[in-house]
């Protein structure tokens, strides 16, 4: 339970290689923060700086208001789960978990109790006598988790702890981690590049790119109010579809012209677009906001290119002017490749982006 403050944090590995360019982040007490971003964007580097394994090039780190930028890892009150677990193969599960407690010279009985407690929490209470080599990947991961939890840290860092697990176990662990967080209430930072993991676990998501923060916000923020085209394209599977359109204001109406369709919107709901009269901008539409419309009110009609059944729903891909557009259609509709189908947009869920800056144009219609 602690607050963490990163101020102007940066890490430069060499003249040309920046690990992190600039990080400003305030983490509140008990918060579960997820760092999300493409490979190489500096997530691990950030975590390592917070943990004290990497010297910072610039900036400061405050934990509970105390500057910890230059103190050694062991004095920071932080624990970490490594991407590759990094549990010690020559120690039993018990010794792995008890390691930090022994160093703190905790009485033996208390150590035993604490270890059992944490091991039970992550469901490895029966495995304490084994060596890590005799455990499955999922169990090893739990050992790493227990080791980190046993410290009762102020701040709990997890660097892609689930990335080595199979898809199913990953979903299970996700839920358990969340439950453990609610139980321990330790401030946590969790790194992942799996966005569904991020969406389901985070209190707030920090989206990074090229060593910089692009957006900080709740899962809803980043999903429904993506700060720019990068975020909109990164979050969501399949990602947001982008359409280049020309905007023209015509009395009380705005018409957005695409080569395949023309959207007409009331100006009073989208007054911010007034400034783009006669200019081009980008409209983003999430796949689930493109609905099949067999009536004559359909916005556009197109041939289906591919259908990918997903069980609960199916992903339908169309080819619109050389661009692939993906939509989500409920499973009960029968759609076949080659069918000509009409589609419509959910006008309440349109995202507008400036073509040059790629930043979001906020509109009054936003939920």
């Amino acid at each position: 339970m602690a607050t963490l403050e990163l101020v102007d944090l940066a890490k430069r590995f060499s003249k040309k290689v920046w690990g992190v360019r600039k990080m400003d982040l305030d983490v509140n007490e008990k918060e579960f923060i997820v760092l999300l971003g493409p490979s190489g964007c500096g997530k691990t580097t950030t975590m390592r700086m917070v943990a004290g394994l990497e010297e910072v090039t610039r900036g400061t780190i405050h934990l509970d208001g105390k500057d910890i930028t230059d103190i050694p890892p062991r004095d920071r009150g932080i624990s970490m789960v490594f991407q590759n677990y990094a549990i010690w193969p020559h120690m039993t599960v018990f010794d792995n978990i008890a390691f930090s407690l022994k160093l703190k010279k905790m009485p033996k009985a208390e150590i035993r109790q604490r270890v059992q407690e944490t091991a039970d929490m992550v469901k490895i209470g029966e495995l304490l006598k084994r060596l890590p080599g005799q455990l499955s990947g999922g169990q090893q991961q739990r050992v790493a988790l227990a080791r980190a939890l046993a410290v009762k840290p102020k701040l709990f860092l997890m660097d892609e702890p689930l990335s080595n697990l199979d898809a199913k176990l990953r979903v299970v662990m996700r839920t358990e981690l969340k439950a453990i967080h609610q139980q321990t209430e330790a401030t946590s930072i969790f790194v992942t590049h799996d966005q569904s993991e991020a969406m389901s676990m985070a209190d707030r998501i920090v989206i990074m790119k090229d060593g910089e923060i692009i957006q900080i916000g709740t899962p809803d923020d980043v999903y429904f109010r993506s700060a720019n085209m990068f975020v909109a394209g990164f979050i969501g599977t399949p990602p947001t579809n982008f359409f280049n359109i020309r905007c023209s204001v015509d009395g009380e109406e705005i018409s957005l012209k695409h080569s395949n369709f023309k959207l007409v919107l009331p100006l009073k709901d989208f007054s911010e677009l007034d400034a783009y009269n006669g200019k081009e901008l980008v409209v983003g539409v999430r796949p689930e906001d493109i609905a099949v419309d067999s009536s004559d009110k359909a916005l556009f009609t197109n041939k289906v290119l591919v259908v990918e059944p997903q069980g609960s729903h199916q992903v339908v891909a169309l080819k619109l002017n050389d661009a692939i557009v993906k939509t989500i259609v409920s499973a009960d509709q029968s759609v076949k490749p080659g069918d000509s189908i009409g589609f419509n947009f959910n006008l309440k869920r349109l995202h507008f982006f400036n073509m040059e800056t790629e930043n979001r144009i906020k509109t009054a219609s936003e939920i």
Binding site: S100, G133, V151
Partner: protein, 360 residues
């Protein structure tokens, strides 16, 4: 003949000839070692009077005594002739002096211990029944004991060798280990060049370095002292240790150390608690190499010692200075190999130690 069968035949012919060659090579390698061991347990009689040699040394010697007008005659069973052959004095009486001489002769030539009383007892049987056959247990280690009795300072030399090898292992492992750790964990300019240049010291033959070494060691007051010799050996062993330990440390993920640092240790503590125990098998192998390397070294030791030779030097000098006495020298050679073998066996435990096959 169809082609499949032909192919199969050709393949099995190929494999068979490969095995024949391999077995041949194995024999060439194994046989000298085998005979070294075998000879070291043989008595003089077995060594020089039996041909072809038996594959394994016998554990007893068979004797026969009979009697004619001259006196008693002693025979020994010769395995290659498969018959009793005359042994020792042409004839002897049952006087105390003759019996005692006979005992000594049997001990020296057949490595078998028998008492005077026992011989007299046998002679009495001969008196009654005209001949007697008996066997005496062979003293297998007689050559070894004799070697250390006959060769001056052999026991001291073993001690010297142990000190030299021990000190070399300690020096090579601490300095080499630290170097290896630095090469494995830190990045610095010219690292690869430096690592390569470490091998440079091994490129010169020991002899060519020995003379300057004598001068340097003499100045340091370490000439003819075990520590001086181990310093010389350490030069080569350190460079090898650096390479071995560097690869050992490289194979241990740095994240294991980092985890230790997060969970409460200093950098040194992380090395102590995590890296060292994990590196132990590799370090043990490295220690073994250093030990064997310095234990067996002769050339530098010959030059750099005078009154305090190491054991290989003693064996070497015994070999050069002896006339025959093959069985005695082989005993010395085997004795030289034994500590290295024991050391290897002790350390083997660590080398084959696996941490449950974990992927780290």
């Amino acid at each position: 003949m169809n082609s499949a069968l032909q192919r199969q035949l050709r393949r099995s012919a190929k494999r068979t000839s490969l095995y024949i060659v391999l077995v041949g090579i194995l024999f060439i390698i194994i046989f000298p070692i085998f005979f070294l061991f075998s000879f070291s347990f043989m008595s003089d009689y077995e060594t020089y009077s039996e041909w072809p040699k038996p594959l394994v040394p016998s554990f007893k010697a068979d004797f026969k005594i009979d009697k004619d007008t001259e006196g008693y005659h002693l025979y020994i069973f010769n395995k290659s002739e498969n018959d009793f052959m005359p042994f020792g004095p042409l004839f002897f009486s049952n006087s105390e002096k003759d019996v005692s001489n006979l005992r000594k002769f049997i001990k020296l030539q057949a490595n078998s211990k028998i008492t005077d009383q026992k011989i007299e007892e046998y002679l009495r049987i001969v008196d009654k029944e005209s001949k007697v056959e008996f066997s005496v247990r062979k003293d297998l280690l007689a050559n070894y004991i004799l070697f250390f009795q006959v060769i001056n300072g052999a026991a001291r030399a073993v001690l010297n060798s142990l000190m030299v090898a021990g000190a070399t292992v300690v020096i090579a492992l601490t300095i080499g280990g630290m170097g290896g750790y630095a090469f494995a964990r830190y990045f610095f300019k010219g690292k690869n060049l430096l690592k390569l240049s470490v091998l440079f010291v091994r490129m010169f033959p020991a002899v060519s370095l020995a003379i300057p070494m004598v001068i340097i060691l003499a100045r340091m007051g370490l000439y003819d002292r075990p520590l001086g010799l181990s310093l010389v050996y350490s030069v080569g062993q350190i460079s090898m240790s650096i390479w071995i330990t560097a690869s050992v440390f490289m194979s241990i993920p740095i994240s294991l150390e980092e985890a230790a640092m997060i969970f409460g240790t200093t950098r040194v503590g992380a090395f102590w608690h995590v890296t060292l125990p994990l590196a132990l098998p590799g370090l043990a192998a490295c220690a073994m190499y250093s030990f064997i390397g310095s234990w067996n070294e002769v050339i530098a030791a010959v030059v750099l010692t005078q009154f305090n030779p190491t054991f290989p030097v003693v064996v070497y000098k015994a070999l050069v200075g002896s006339q025959g006495q093959i069985n005695l020298i082989t005993a010395g050679s085997v004795a030289q190999a034994v500590p290295a073998i024991i050391f290897t066996l002790i350390i083997r435990k660590y080398i084959i130690q696996m941490w449950g096959g974990v992927k780290v």
